[in-house]
Amino acid sequence: MTAGTAIRDRAAQPSPRRRASRDRGRPVLSRFPVPWRLAGYAAVLGMGLLYLLPFVLQLVTGFKTDPDAAAHPLALLPTTPTTAAYQRLLGLSQAAEGVPFLRWLGNSALVAVLVTAGRVLFDSMAGYALARLRFRGRSVLFGFVLAVMAVPGVALLIPKFLVLNTVGLFDTYTGMVLPLLVDAAGIFIMKQFFESVPREVEEAARVDGAGVFRIFWSVVLPMARPALITLTILSFQGSWNEFTHFLVSTQSGQYETLTTGLARLVSGGLGGGTQYPLKLAAALLATVPVAALFFCFQRYFVSGANAGAVKE
């Protein structure tokens, strides 16, 4: 930002008048003078580094020894490279005490897959019904969805625990997965999408004698591919990164996910020393699946950010 505005502030020279270019790609105003452009590039590069450097340091520190990480926190190369942290996490050497990383990974994967499958199915069913099917109470239900979207998750920590505890689902996989199977923001995205599908498509199928479920399943749903991909990615990302719900729905170590396990490891100070290489390696591995999805399907993340829930 510094670059952009500073440059704009100084470049007070009126740009030479010129005819509007037919070429849509060309900028409206003339280019910045060269020195300003160079300064701008430098500043932009600095900004980019500010966003990248934490991840680079995280990656590098994972290959350092504990004393090395403590003594040279900024060094971009380990003095004595070691994969000890990764070996301990993956159980190849003597496992880190209290860090059953593979169990966390398995739990996270299981929960994320189940939640994603549930959300894709249930959100699109509900979204379709709210967009297209005529039934009593539809507008009330949509109002309900909008209201639920406004309820902040962190205000429901104790309330959710109360319900899970009362119905006997506390500290079970069911209790971890079931409450996440439907999300209001996903329903909203799907409803928006289904409203944009031309009605003629459904009318034609109807004339051919297809029933409601058939129209939904074999006509409308295949058309919803982009929305479904967005929903799948958002659901996976959301459930993989979910923390608070697992924090209040479980207490035993066997149900720990990457987020709850890592949080306990980092905040509780398990074992001796700071163990930063181990913690940062665990955090890095926990980031990899979502990062891989992000680099492959970035445009769906972008449309998600522009169409769905903003999760902090």
């Binding site: 930002m1 505005t5 509007a20 790609g25 060309r26 900028p27 409206v28 932009v44 980019g48 966003y51 934490p54 403590a70 926190p73 509900a126 379709y128 019904a129 099917l133 005529r134 039934f135 539809r138 507008s139 949509f142 909008l146 639920v148 406004a150 998750g153 962190v154 205000a155 920590l157 104790i158 319900v163 009362t166 409450p179 199977l181 329903i187 909203f188 928006q192 409203e195 009605r199 009318e203 109807r206 409601v212 479920f213 939904f216 990164n241 923390f243 924090l247 990457l258 987020t259 890592l262 980092v266 940062l280 955090a283 926990a286 980031t287 979502v290 522009n306 169409a307 903003v310 902090e312």
Partner: protein, 382 residues
């Protein structure tokens, strides 16, 4: 959730679901609709309810029911052991709320402290992340920048990672002898011991200027108190430790908001800019009189989204200190959690959760109302 959807979410309210709940919005003309209705499928209502039943069940069971149960529990003195609905727990009426808001005591002091901390967090995070996001969007929108795609990816990436994982990284970066302090030492600054420093930033600045003595505040600031917290404590600013949380929030959320700004920037009609260029405006005038006015609705959206989400900060607090040092990173969300799960005072925890819920719902209602108003006013040309 940005412009398009928020605008759309306003539409059902303004263009009137009440009158014609079952009419299709939009393009369908009356004759077509009538024909569709005649040809309507038998059992459509049943199918409709069948389709929404998972949603109704799950949201009802895990959103509505919890709120009702917690409302009841917030009126009890309950330690989490017995069944709260069997009458074994003491019914204490509004005592939990009274202890938080009107009665002198530790509960109120802690709650006031958490409100103060979060207020400073909001006050700094929201403007900073909005400005940064706007700046990043303006940079990434530069047509001539060769690397815009890569930059967009870089700025957006922190937003998609897990809050726990990035908090771990920040804990490492901001340790006493960590990367940030090493960097600061290059330019001759001795960085603070970030996570262990409970001193308020404002009081440090004022102390540095010699206006107040942070060690021994005197006069009006020390003598008056509100909600059990002295004025000095209210006004001492976010602690150094809280500042790391603010930096983390700004760093992780600016990417998402950048995308929202970017979408809006690309929606500005090119003709508008071209005609302004024909008038001979310079860059600064273009920014102030063409670009920024066009971004006004989105600016409002981003500010309110930030306002709503910053009152919910929890994950970072859990990982980066759990309220320490000296309760200066305590937030209402975390206080509610720890009252219940650490101190086994679920009644108190629920009461805090309800006050927080009310605050956030009021902010959200204001946002939606304002967006709907705007949508109704500009609806004709959209």
């Amino acid at each position: 959730m940005p412009i398009r959807t928020m605008r759309a979410s306003g539409i059902p309210r303004t263009t009137g679901s009440p009158g014609a709940p079952d009419s299709a919005h939009g393009e369908t003309g009356t004759p077509v609709k009538a024909r569709a209705r005649r040809a309507g499928l038998r059992g459509e209502g049943t199918w409709g309810w069948l389709f929404v039943s998972p949603m109704v069940l799950i949201l009802g069971l895990f959103m509505v029911l919890p709120i009702l149960m917690a409302l009841w529990v917030s009126l009890l003195h309950w330690d989490g052991q017995s069944n709260p609905f069997s009458g074994q727990a003491d019914f204490v009426g509004l005592d939990n709320y009274r202890a938080l808001l009107t009665q002198d005591g530790l509960d109120r002091t802690l709650f006031a402290t958490s409100l103060r901390n979060n207020a400073y967090y909001v006050l700094l995070t929201v403007p900073l992340q909005t400005l940064l996001a706007l700046g990043l969007a303006l940079i990434v929108n530069q047509k001539l920048l060769r690397v815009r795609g890569a930059l967009r990816t870089t700025f957006f990436f922190p937003s998609v990672t897990s809050s726990i994982a990035v908090s771990t990284v920040f804990l490492f970066l901001f340790q006493g002898s960590g990367s940030v302090n090493s960097m600061l030492s290059w330019i001759g600054i001795k960085g603070p011991n970030w996570f262990a420093d409970p001193r308020g930033v404002l009081s440090l600045i004022l102390g540095g200027l010699g206006i107040v003595d942070p060690e021994r505040p005197t006069g009006m600031l020390a003598d008056h108190s509100t909600l059990g917290l002295s004025w000095f404590e209210w006004l001492s600013g976010p602690s150094v430790a809280m500042c790391t949380l603010i930096l983390l929030a700004v760093w992780t959320t600016s990417g998402t908001f950048m995308l929202i700004f970017l979408a809006a920037l690309q929606d500005i009609p090119r003709e508008l800019k071209e005609s302004a260029a024909m008038e001979g405006v310079n860059r600064r005038q273009m920014l102030w009189h063409v670009t920024l006015p066009a971004l006004r609705p989105v600016l409002f959206l981003v500010l309110t989204l930030g306002l709503i989400s910053t009152w919910q900060v929890f994950d970072q607090v859990y990982v980066m200190g759990q309220g320490a040092p000296g309760n200066t990173t305590l937030t209402p969300a975390f206080l509610s959690y720890s009252a219940g799960f650490d101190d086994a005072d679920f009644g108190q925890g629920s009461a805090i959760a309800f006050i927080l819920l009310a605050l956030i719902l009021i902010l959200t209602a204001f946002q939606r109302w304002a967006l709907a108003e705007r949508g109704a006013r500009t609806g004709s040309n959209r």
